[in-house]
């Protein structure tokens, strides 16, 4: 039986002050069990409960290059930025409401004071609450190593439960969120067992409006598959069409057919199928209204 009261393992602990120091450490210890520590709200829990063994722990919270948010044609969020800092920003709340709603739905403030956005992404949980909104906004990740850097879409980053395409000497330094389309309406929705809970299902949608028409859209669901899932066929129903109530209803039905949920301790597959339809329908309505679209 594990003990969540304290950490028993021995490991080397580093607190680099520059990115290059951190990358040097990652490079040096890439063949060892090396882990990056951001807020630790996932990592430390796993070290206690799943017995994940760590030889080298690199705390990135003192690296000044990754501690800020740049507000220039979109958002660039450093890897050490805390969730509670983001939820207090006007730009996040107003320009990226689905992200704001995703963040504030998470845990309680004490956790959000520690946790980071990048940590939520790199943890690669199918239930991660910021991932669907970030996919909706077309977020990209800046990935750096001693050898160089690459920028890849978030959608291509997560490969499975807890798995990413990150190489052992790399870290994510920044989340880059492009400026939203002027008539984008977006919204997030989550159902848990209690108010502050890991999702039974979470989802975010974004609709780009051109008059009565949906110019483009994204419907992204979490906790319904081994990773965040885009309901492409459902999006197809809306894309390029004049938005009407029945269209939204059929898109929601389609989305519910696209997901592949499982039974777990939080809910059942049967229920999730039912719930997904309702949630997608409701959230599409909200997003369409936020895009300035008419309601019938």
């Amino acid at each position: 039986m594990h003990n969540t009261r304290f950490l028993t393992q021995e490991f080397e602990y580093f607190v680099p002050h520059t990115l290059s120091e951190a990358l040097d450490l990652l490079f040096t210890y890439q063949d060892k069990r090396t882990k990056i520590l951001a807020g630790g709200t996932d990592l430390l829990v796993k070290m206690k409960t799943l017995g994940i063994g760590v030889d080298y722990l690199i705390n990135i919270n003192e690296i000044s290059e990754i501690k800020n948010v740049e507000l220039d044609k979109g958002l660039k969020i450093g890897a050490a930025v805390k969730l509670s800092q983001l939820e207090k920003m006007k730009a996040v709340k107003e320009e990226y409401p689905a992200l704001y709603e995703g963040i504030t739905s998470m845990a309680a403030i004490a956790i959000r004071n520690m946790a980071t956005l990048v940590g939520n992404i790199c943890n690669a949980s199918p239930a991660g609450d910021t991932i669907p909104p970030l996919v909706v906004y077309g977020a990209k990740l800046r990935i750096v190593s001693k050898k160089g850097e690459r920028v890849i879409p978030l959608e291509d980053f997560i490969s499975g439960v807890g798995e990413t395409i990150l190489k052992r000497d790399e870290l994510v330094s920044q989340v880059i969120i492009p400026e939203p389309y002027k008539d984008l309406g977006s919204a997030f929705c989550k159902k848990g067992r209690v108010k502050a809970d890991i999702a039974k299902i979470n989802l975010a949608v974004g609709i780009e409006r051109d008059g009565d028409i949906c110019r483009d859209c994204r419907i992204v669901l979490g906790s319904v598959f081994s990773k965040t899932l885009r309901a492409y066929k459902s999006e197809e129903i809306l894309r390029g069409k004049v938005i009407k109530d029945d269209l939204i209803i059929s898109a929601a039905k389609r989305a519910a057919e696209e997901i592949k949920p499982i039974d777990d301790v939080r809910s059942t597959a049967e229920y999730r199928n039912e719930l997904a339809r309702v949630m997608v329908e409701d959230t599409l309505h909200i997003a369409w209204e936020r895009a300035g679209g008419k309601r019938w």
């Binding site: 039986m1 003990n3 969540t4 159902k191 209690v194 301790v265």
Partner: protein, 764 residues
């Protein structure tokens, strides 16, 4: 009686401030020089033979000071007790085994104990103990476990460890007379106490060779049981209870005390042991799941004529307090209703699940969920409104409880509490959302306060008036957070006319404070309150006697208040309290008193047909709720929650409201989300990530209506409220769900998954 000055006032408690500020010291907030850290090795299997245990590697590990297994425990097997002073017979006594011996009966059972220099060493070394198991099939379903030939959990020839019955009238005739008969089966799950403070404590041996145990316990009288395990005289073990971070019945059995005592006795060093949350959920007791088959018959006008109930409960792997809990369930099985023909049978069955024992409500909430659901169904089928059906059938003053025939001479606040709760709910809220359906539900119930009368319960309290007019109280009373300690101070302050700030109390120490009995059974206000009252009144009598001489006024004309002894008919004439104290001291009049209060004593009843007085008295209450069900998602939102109880007299209305609100929320979790899921003996909800309880964000505005009939057996007519407060809300919520969407959920918790499934099933 003269006007009360402190009783009935909303006093903010000292402990509340200390808790809010984080200053209060709980059992594990304590260290001693040279202290070791204890750790328990728990079984990996729910049912297995222990082939061998090898502790060599663990013993050799640097920093390990002791490793103990069953063979090292002087008396590894004793009997579960909970502080009773009368002989109650074998029917209630279960095997208490400190460490597993030859066989494990549930996953999480303690197999070995270890003490080491640091917590880290203990954690690492515990895994070095090698246990060779031979897994056994086990049995995990109580109904299966009842069958002949079932796997035997224990060492006796049946898994049924207790059976109770109640009967009155002629059940067959009753059903023949009925115009309508309803029959159904209801189920309630395992739930956890989920206290903030897990099981923890520290033990050491003092300069008198006494083993001291600092622990949060509801039953400090367990010092005797710990001494028995060690083979020591009872006066060589001392409990020093602390304020608890919640008990809810989970600290009514021995938790970690025996382990602490054994480790400190073996190492001769102080030892601390703190359960992790996972250990608390996996290894300590749970609330009993019940399968309850009910059949009721009524006349067309709604009058009940017959009730038959069969209750089967899962005791888990060891008896602990299961027989008692099942006795409570049996007595509560027909609720607060007058029914001429009754038959109740209860079976309590061992399985290889985590053991079950006391949990706030102690067998009352389970049958309440069943009988209040079926009453609601009856009302529905007869088109009678939910309040009316209860008015027609409920107990009233002078009537007898249907199960046992115990009559109530004191005021029975039915249907008053039901009327008040239902009325306070008001008209149904209108909601625009077409997918949200609003429903209202009502449930009533009763629950005893004070222990079973055949336990011959008593409590003691010591009060001393100091020469400067301050007061010292000593009482063994444990405080779970319900304000038990503060209540005694209020009573003494009232009686001796001294402000609360001048009172100091020592509590929960088995060596130095007079034993006050357990903080269980909602008994402390009643029992220890009366003991404190008795002691304070004795001192008051002596003061007034002396003052009468000094003032030349008859004792009948004197009263105490505001640190004065006052002439009743002329309040401007008084003697300062301090003068009376001085005079008493000079005359050798004792200004201290230790008093004992005894509850009513009865004989052990015939368990196959329980009749007569089993409990001193009951608290009656009602709960009314309004909820909205989302018919697309099955989510239930509680919109209004009204709780109404006759509390007799609210000694501290703040604490009473706290109990009523907290109790409702405790029950709300039971109704809507809480379940310890145990599959084939394996707990699938071992932490608060899986085991979900309501948080402050999930709690609706709760309204508490206090009826103060003054009819209780406690001081100033008080009744008990702690457990009754959580026992009724679950069926109120289920009934509201039925009212909203027409589906009756018959097993707790009423999750969205179940509601949607039932809704869909109904339309197909």
């Amino acid at each position: 009686m003269s006007q009360l000055k402190i009783i009935g006032k909303p006093i903010s408690r000292d402990d509340a401030w200390a808790k809010a500020k984080g200053e209060l010291k709980y059992a594990d907030d304590f260290s001693l020089p040279g202290m070791l850290y204890g750790k328990v090795l728990h079984s990996k299997y729910p049912a297995a033979k222990i082939i061998s245990i090898n502790t060599e590697k663990a013993k050799q590990f640097s920093g390990v000071r002791a490793v103990l297994t069953a063979g090292d425990v002087p008396h590894n097997e004793t009997v579960t007790r909970f502080g009773q002073s009368s002989e109650v017979g074998k029917g209630f006594e279960g095997l208490y085994r400190v460490l597993a011996d030859k066989k494990v009966r549930f996953m999480g059972e303690a197999i070995a104990l270890l003490a080491a220099d640091t917590e880290e060493i203990a954690e690492e070394a515990i895994n070095l103990i090698e246990v060779e198991y031979e897994p056994l099939p086990g049995v995990f379903d109580p109904v299966e476990a009842m069958q002949p030939g079932a796997y035997l959990v224990g060492e006796v020839d049946s898994n049924i460890i207790a059976q109770f019955g109640c009967a009155q009238g002629d059940i067959e005739r009753g059903f023949k007379e009925a115009d309508i008969i309803i029959e159904d089966t209801y189920k309630v799950p395992f739930v956890d106490h989920a206290y903030l403070e897990t099981e923890s404590g520290i033990a050491w041996i003092d300069e008198n060779s006494v083993i001291n145990i600092r622990v949060g316990s509801q039953v400090i009288e367990h010092f005797r049981d710990v001494a028995d395990v060690l083979g020591l005289p009872h006066n060589r073990v001392r409990y020093r209870g602390t304020m608890m971070g919640g008990g809810f019945g989970g600290k009514e059995d021995i938790t970690v005390e025996t382990y602490l005592a054994l480790l400190t006795w073996k190492t001769k060093k102080p030892v601390r042991l703190v359960y992790s949350r996972e250990e608390s959920i996996l290894c300590h007791s749970k609330r009993h799941p019940f399968i309850m088959h009910y059949k009721v018959g009524a006349k067309k006008d709604g009058k009940l004529v017959a009730l038959e109930a069969e209750l089967i409960s899962d005791a888990g792997a060891y008896p602990y307090l299961s027989p008692w809990v099942n006795l409570y369930a049996t007595v509560n099985a027909a609720g607060p209703y007058c029914i001429p023909h009754i038959k109740v049978n209860t079976y309590c069955v061992l399985t290889n699940n985590t053991f079950t024992s006391a949990n706030r409500g102690f067998g009352a909430p389970q049958p309440n969920m069943a009988y209040e659901s079926i009453m609601d169904e009856l009302a529905h089928q007869l088109s009678i409104n939910p309040l009316e059906i209860r008015r027609i059938n409920c107990l009233t003053t002078g009537k007898a409880l249907s199960t046992t025939g115990q009559t109530f001479k004191t005021y029975v606040a039915l249907p008053e509490v039901a009327e008040k709760a239902w009325e306070a709910l008001g008209n149904p809220t209108r909601i625009k959302d077409k997918y949200k359906k609003v429903g209202q539900g009502l449930a009533i119930g009763l629950m005893s306060y004070g222990r079973m009368t055949f336990l011959h319960d008593s409590s003691r309290c010591y009060v001393r008036l100091e020469s400067d007019g301050s007061i010292l109280i000593r009482s063994g009373i444990p405080d779970l957070g319900g304000g038990q300690v503060s209540i005694l101070c209020q009573i003494v302050a009232e009686e001796l006319g001294v402000p609360m700030s001048k009172i100091n109390i020592y509590y929960s120490d088995t060596a130095l404070t007079p034993l006050a009995g357990t903080t269980t059974a909602t008994r402390q206000t009643y029992m220890s309150g009366n003991a404190a009252l008795k002691a304070a009144r004795e001192i008051k009598k002596r003061l007034i006697y002396k003052a009468a001489q000094m003032m030349n006024v008859h004792t009948d004309n004197l009263d105490i208040g505001e640190e004065k002894i006052i002439v009743k008919y002329k309040p401007s004439q008084y003697l300062p309290l301090i003068e009376a104290i001085k005079a008493c001291n000079a005359d050798g009049i004792e200004l201290f008193c230790e008093a004992q209060f005894n509850g009513p004593f009865t004989m052990t009843p015939d368990l196959s047909n329980i009749r007569g007085m089993i409990f001193p008295d009951f608290t009656f209450g009602a709960q009314a709720v309004e909820i909205a069900v989302d018919i697309e998602t099955g989510e239930v939102e509680v919109l209004k929650l009204v709780t109404c109880y006759d509390v007799g007299k609210a000694i501290n209305p703040l604490s009473v409201e706290g109990q009523m609100e907290g109790g409702s929320i405790y029950g709300l979790g039971y109704a809507l989300m809480e379940e310890v899921i145990i599959k084939d003996g394996v707990t699938l909800t071992p932490s608060f990530s899986e085991y979900i309880i309501p948080t402050s964000a999930d709690v609706p505005e709760a309204k508490a209506i206090l009826v103060e009939s003054g009819g209780g057996l406690g001081p100033y007519g008080a009744k008990g409220i702690g457990e009754p407060a959580c026992s009724i809300i679950a069926p109120a919520i289920l009934n509201a769900i039925y009212n909203a969407v027409g589906v009756r959920i018959k097993s707790l918790p009423a999750t969205p998954e179940k509601i949607i499934r039932t809704l869909k099933g109904q339309f197909n």
